[in-house]
Symmetry: C2
Subunit: 263 residues, 2 copies
DNA sequence: CCAAAAGTGTTGTTTTTACACCCATGA
DNA sequence: TCATGGGTGTAAAAACAACACTTTTGG
C-alpha cells in the first residue's frame, strides 16, 4: 500500500529510490533436485545436515558474475564431481516464511561458528528451483560444509526435508513429468548404452505408472531417436536384451516439436 | 573458484559467511508480460519509458513481506486497475550483463532525480518473468513513475524493447503455447460470454496457425468445458454466432489431466 | 441481393489400445 | 530344466485430418 502511494504520487520518486535498498532486499539462493536412475528406480541426491535430523536439497548462492545456471552448475560440480550437468529451472519459491530465520544460524552455532557471523543465513532467501539429471554411476557424492553426508535416496524413503524442500521436490517431479516429451530426460539419466526395458522402467518411474511393453517399444522406435547397437547386455539372468544408444541429433530435433502422443 | 576453495577447506566457513553478504548480492525484480486479446489479436501491455525510445514490460520489486506473486499482483494492479489477475511464473533471467547499469540511472537523471540517488537501479537485478492474462476491455492502463505511457501493442508492432525484454517476451510466448492445455487461458483472456469463432481465433493467435473450424468445435465440445447460452451475439455483420461461457468447474477438472490431444 | 461469416457430417487415415506366444539365459 | 524376463504382431477402437454446402445477417 505504501508503495502504491509512492508510485502514484510523483513527488516521492526520490524517496522511493532511497527506501528501495531497504524495502526490496531479498537474497537469492538456488536449490537443486538432482535425479538419478538406478535399478529401475528414480533417486534423488540429498544432504544430511550437521546437527539436524532433516535432509536437504543441495543448494547454493549466485556470485556477482554468474548466471543462476552457472551457479547451479558450480554447486553441483562440488556435490557430484561432474561437469556439464543437465539443468533446468522450474520454479521460484518466495514465500516470506519459507525459511525459519533461526534454524540455519542455530545449526551453524552448533557447528562452531560464532553467533555474530551467522547473519547471512538469517536473511530472507528467495530460492530458484532447478532439477538436474545425472548418470547415477558417474556421481561421486560429496557433502558440503554444512552437511555430514551426501547420498542417494529413493523418493519414498527420503524422510523429512528441511524448510520447504518437500514442496520444491514435489514441484520438480511435476516438472519432470510435464517435460518428458520436451527434454532429453532419457539421454541424461541413462548410461550411454542401455536396453529398452531399462528405458521403459525410466518412463514408468517418472510417470508413476506401468506401460505396455510392446506399445512402448513401437512408440519409442517411431520417434527414430534410438540407434540399435547389435550388441546385447551380457551377464544378466534370463534372455539377453539388446543395447541401444540415443541418436542425439535426431533426439534433439524430435524434441523441438515435442514427442507426439500421450503416455 | 574461490567459493569452491572455501567450501572444500573447512577452515574458511567463517570467512565464507563474512564474504557472502558481498559476494552473493543480487537484487530481485520481476517483469510481467501482460497478454490481452482483442479483435482477433493477442496484445501485450507495454510502457513507453521517459527519455527513452524503447518500450518496456511492466515490472516491479518484491517487498520484504511479499511473495513474488503478491508483488506481481500489486504491480499489475497499479498498471491495469485490476484485482486478482491470473499470473504464472515462467522463467528467471539472470545473465549478469542483462541490464546496463548506466541506462536506468541516466534516464532517472534526465527525469530530474539527483545522480547520487540512482544507485538502486545501478545494481545487478535478477528478474523473475511472469505472464499475466487479462480481459482486454477491463484494463485501464496506467504508466508508472518511470514511464510516459502504458498501452496495448500488437506483437508484431511492438518496436524494440529495453534490456532483455525481447527475450523475456519470447519466453513468455513459448510458455503460453506450452501451457495451452494446462492453464485456463481462454477463461482469463476472453470476456465471460464469447463465441466459438472468437475462442478459435484465440487459439490460432496463441499457436500462430490456422485451425479447421469444424474440427476445432468438435474437439472443444468434447472437453465438456463450455456452457451453451441460447443467446446470440447481435449487432454484428453476417450470421449471428451463438454465445458460450466456460463451465469453470469442469474446465479446471479437465485441465488437471491436461486437455488431450495436439493442436 | 450479395458478400461474408457461421453452422453443420462424413469419410479415409493414423494412432492408440489391448492382448499371447515363443525364445534365451543363469541359476 | 525351469523360472524369469525379453522379443515380437495383429485386430478393434478411437482420434485426427480433410473437405463443401447451406443459413443468416448487415450493408
Amino acid at each position: 500500500m505504501r508503495l502504491v502511494y509512492y508510485l502514484l504520487m510523483e513527488e516521492s520518486l526520490e524517496d522511493f529510490l532511497e527506501r528501495a535498498q531497504r524495502d526490496f532486499l531479498a537474497h537469492i539462493s538456488l536449490d537443486c533436485v538432482v535425479f538419478g536412475f538406478h535399478a529401475g528406480q528414480l533417486k534423488i541426491l540429498l544432504l544430511k545436515m550437521k546437527h539436524e535430523d532433516k535432509r536437504a536439497l543441495p543448494g547454493g548462492f549466485v556470485r556477482k558474475d554468474e548466471t543462476l545456471e552457472e551457479a547451479a552448475s558450480r554447486t553441483l560440480r562440488e556435490r557430484t564431481g561432474l561437469e556439464n550437468i543437465f539443468l533446468q529451472q522450474f520454479s521460484v519459491f518466495s514465500d516470506p516464511l519459507r525459511s525459519d530465520p533461526d534454524a540455519r544460524p542455530q545449526s551453524l552455532v552448533l557447528a562452531g561458528v560464532s553467533p555474530e557471523k551467522t547473519g547471512f543465513f538469517a536473511q530472507r532467501f528467495i530460492s530458484v528451483g532447478f532439477y538436474a539429471l545425472v548418470e547415477f554411476s558417474q556421481v561421486v557424492p560429496r557433502p558440503d560444509v554444512l552437511s555430514d553426508t551426501c547420498d542417494w535416496y529413493n523418493l519414498e524413503e527420503r524422510g523429512p526435508l528441511i524448510l520447504d524442500h518437500d514442496q520444491i521436490l514435489a514441484a520438480a517431479l511435476a516438472a519432470l513429468q510435464a517435460q518428458l516429451n520436451y527434454q532429453p530426460l532419457g539421454y541424461n539419466l541413462l548410461p550411454r548404452k542401455f536396453t529398452l526395458p531399462e528405458l521403459q522402467k525410466l518412463y514408468e518411474a517418472i510417470l508413476g505408472k506401468k506401460l505396455d511393453r510392446r506399445n512402448f517399444q513401437r512408440k519409442i522406435f517411431s520417434y527414430g531417436i534410438l540407434r540399435s547397437l547389435d550388441e546385447k547386455r551380457t551377464g544378466v539372468a534370463h534372455k539377453a536384451p539388446y543395447l541401444y544408444s540415443f541418436d542425439l541429433r535426431k533426439y534433439q530435433k524430435a524434441l523441438k516439436l515435442g514427442l507426439q502422443g500421450g503416455w
